[in-house]
């Protein structure tokens, strides 16, 4: 693929997370966006439109988020890297076609800028309560790659990674950010085009009448072709064989769907990414992601200054979950402290992967929203004091009157 130089804004900029996300998408080669306006994702669409003419990218505002993701999947089959961006209420609408994207094995990227919920919640307040929806929101069995950026720079970097994963594994990929990162303006460094790693689409190169849209390579990923290239292929959301023809039998359900999971599960080590700080001799490890990163890093520093041996594990990729890493740390540390802007989602994964070897303390945002550094520090102290190995998740509660 020839790199479109206008698409890569090489240099140092001050960008919001939403703006950086779109710059990442353009740098990754995205040429199609379909979306429906929603707070706090709206600036993604605005940025895209501002730059689309010079980049040569196409945009359509659809009538809702159901159609937005449907259009994105259709567009992807024309050979254009495609994306959509939304927030909670729209993300719920998209669950129907997240499943279709998985079943048609169509590369595309979905940006979910989390606000609070359920339902409408607070449109301009950060939340992290869609984490499980990203993983399980559509019906049926599937695996989904989800990245959780914690800064505008990561919005840029992770959006590129998302496009690369989607092409490599021929699957929808979610970038799950939140209102805080989306609106935060910060320095973002965009490298020269030739310094950005881009995964091209994996095309079928054989004879026109030999193309099987779901015939898997050794790594379980099937090849693609574009509409209009003369392959006359068929794909369906029904359970299907290699030809894409529907077969309504359990054997085919197994034949079709299990490998869709394997293609992610067998590559977990290549997909999972995290940032580890000071875990080597840590007694307590804070597990954090996205908007809680700032508060977690501050809390880590404060606790260290108090002489506590505390480390951090920032999850860059949340799905698939870093099971092995958590299990390995659980054998060494006394406890995990998990701050989230929700009432307990990723923390249950941490608890699952600890296998009872470490205590797991959950710190909800409470009334403080994302600025819960004090609570995280107090939770670390609580974790140190705890002598017994407790079953299940221990929920940290702010002292009465303090919050």
């Amino acid at each position: 693929m020839k790199t479109n130089l206008k698409a890569v804004l090489t240099g140092t900029h001050t960008l919001s997370g939403n703006e950086a996300c779109i710059e990442g998408a353009f740098a990754a080669g995205c040429l199609f966006l379909a979306a429906y306006p929603i707070m706090p994702a709206i600036e993604t669409i605005e940025r895209y439109l501002k730059r689309s003419a010079e980049v040569g990218a196409t945009f359509i505002q659809m009538e809702d988020e159901i159609s937005a993701l449907a259009a994105v999947i259709g567009a992807s089959w024309t050979g254009k890297k495609s994306m959509t961006a939304t927030s909670g209420p729209g993300f719920s609408n998209m669950m129907e076609h997240l499943g279709l994207g998985v079943m048609l094995e169509t590369p595309c990227v979905i940006i979910d800028v989390q606000r609070t919920g359920p339902s409408l919640g607070i449109p301009n307040r950060a939340g992290q309560a869609d984490m499980m929806q990203a993983r399980w929101g559509s019906h049926g069995d599937y695996e989904v790659i989800t990245l959780a950026p914690g800064s505008p720079q990561e919005m840029f970097d992770f959006t590129i990674k998302a496009f690369n994963f989607s092409e490599k594994y021929r699957t929808p990929v979610i970038v799950i950010s939140d209102e805080y990162i989306a609106h935060k303006k910060e320095k973002v460094v965009i490298p020269p085009a030739d310094g950005i790693k881009i995964t091209p689409r994996r095309y079928f190169k054989g004879q026109k009448d030999k193309y099987l849209p779901f015939k898997r390579d050794k790594d379980f990923v099937p090849r693609m072709v574009d509409i209009g290239d003369g392959f006359k292929f068929h794909v369906t959301g029904l359970t299907h064989d290699d030809k894409g023809y529907p077969i309504m039998l359990e054997e085919c359900q197994e034949y079709n769907v299990h490998p869709i999971l394997w293609k992610i599960r067998n590559h977990v080590d290549e997909i999972v990414e995290f940032q580890e700080t000071g875990t080597v001799d840590a007694e307590i490890v804070i597990v954090y992601y996205g908007a809680t990163s700032e508060a977690a890093i501050k809390a880590m520093k404060q606790a260290k200054d108090m002489g506590i041996k505390v480390g951090g594990l920032k999850l860059d990729v949340v799905w698939p979950f870093p099971d092995k890493k958590i299990a390995e740390l659980a054998e060494k540390v006394k406890a995990f402290v998990v701050p989230e802007i929700n009432y307990g989602q990723i923390v249950s994964e941490v608890e699952r992967c600890s296998y009872g070897n470490a205590n797991v303390i959950f710190v909800s945002h409470g009334e403080k929203g994302i600025n819960n550094t004090d609570d995280i520090v107090s939770a670390i102290k609580l974790a140190l004091k705890e002598k017994e190995r407790k079953k299940g998740i221990i929920e940290y509660r702010s002292q009465a009157g303090s919050s």
Binding site: A70, W77, P246
Partner: protein, 288 residues
């Protein structure tokens, strides 16, 4: 993992079927009941594609879900069987991402007008260049004959056991008032006229809609005691009246009443891509 034998096995096609070039012979026999109108409409569609003289390599077909939704799976074009009601939205993405492609949506009345109704009116309003063929069998057939937004007043369905109490949509009127540039209606027995309409609409820039009044020989027929598929097809045909250019307001269909058919709308309006490209060239000029 080795592909299962069962899945690999092809049903050998007949030697040279006249529609060999356009049907996926390796998928026959099809799932439709004997006497169903969908098969006739597909025959007209195949003939219309041929007659339209378009590049089939650059033509694709999208269906939603339902008995009619299975059409895409039998047509030898780049073909997509998507989700219930969302065919038009999916097709919009294809068309906007690659305007060189010809895009056809072939689906049922429930799919296009009920769950997909919003996509239908918006694609018509935008005038996205595509042909929508809607098989109206007055019922949700695939799920066993429930009432649809097209079921005539007083007609029975499993979910209207005392006769349908909701007035139905008049599909050509809906398409017309939403902005479609080409609107026609035929019955499944008007094979030649339907073929011509399909060929004409395929060469018409903009959002075109062809409604095909078609018998569901299994559910709509049985619950309303209308005889077999052929009886129904003949009834629709014999009780139709061709009125080209008729005001679409006057196209309501009652239970076993007269059906007005013909080409009702054929007009020019800038397509979505025309307007988009105009905006784009304006933006590009402004940049210079």
């Amino acid at each position: 993992m080795e592909p299962l034998k069962m899945i690999e096995k092809d049903i050998q096609p007949m030697d040279v079927h006249p529609m060999n070039d356009i049907l996926r012979m390796d998928r026959l026999p099809h799932i439709w009941c004997p006497g169903c109108g969908i098969g006739t409409a597909v025959t007209a569609f195949a003939a219309g594609l041929d007659k339209a003289n378009i590049d089939l390599k650059k033509t694709c077909i999208v269906s939603g879900i339902g008995c009619t939704g299975r059409v895409a799976g039998y047509i030898k074009l780049d073909s997509f069987h998507t989700t219930h009601g969302r065919g038009i939205a999916f097709a919009t993405g294809i068309k906007v991402a690659n305007p060189d492609l010809k895009v056809i949506v072939f689906s049922g009345d429930g799919d296009l007008i009920s769950i997909g109704g919003n996509h239908f009116i918006h694609a018509a309003r935008r005038n996205v260049n595509m042909l929508v063929i809607c098989i109206n069998n007055f019922i949700y057939a695939m799920t066993g004959g429930q009432v649809a937004p097209t079921t005539p007043l007083a007609a029975y369905a499993t979910t209207s056991p005392f006769g349908c109490v909701e007035p139905p949509f008049n599909i050509p009127y809906l398409a017309d008032s939403s902005g479609a540039v080409y609107v026609a209606r035929w019955t499944a027995l008007h094979v030649r006229r339907l073929t011509n309409s399909i060929a004409e609409a395929l060469n018409k820039p903009g959002f075109s809609v062809i409604e095909v009044i078609s018998p569901c020989a299994m559910y709509y027929s049985r619950i309303n005691r209308l005889g077999d598929g052929l009886d129904m097809m003949k009834f629709y045909h014999d009780n139709s009246e061709i009125r080209h250019g008729e005001d679409t307001k006057n196209l309501d269909i009652g239970f076993q009443t007269k059906i007005i058919v013909g080409k009702f709308v054929d007009r020019e309006r800038p397509t979505y891509m025309d307007s988009y490209n105009k905006w784009l060239s304006g933006t590009k000029k402004a940049e210079k």
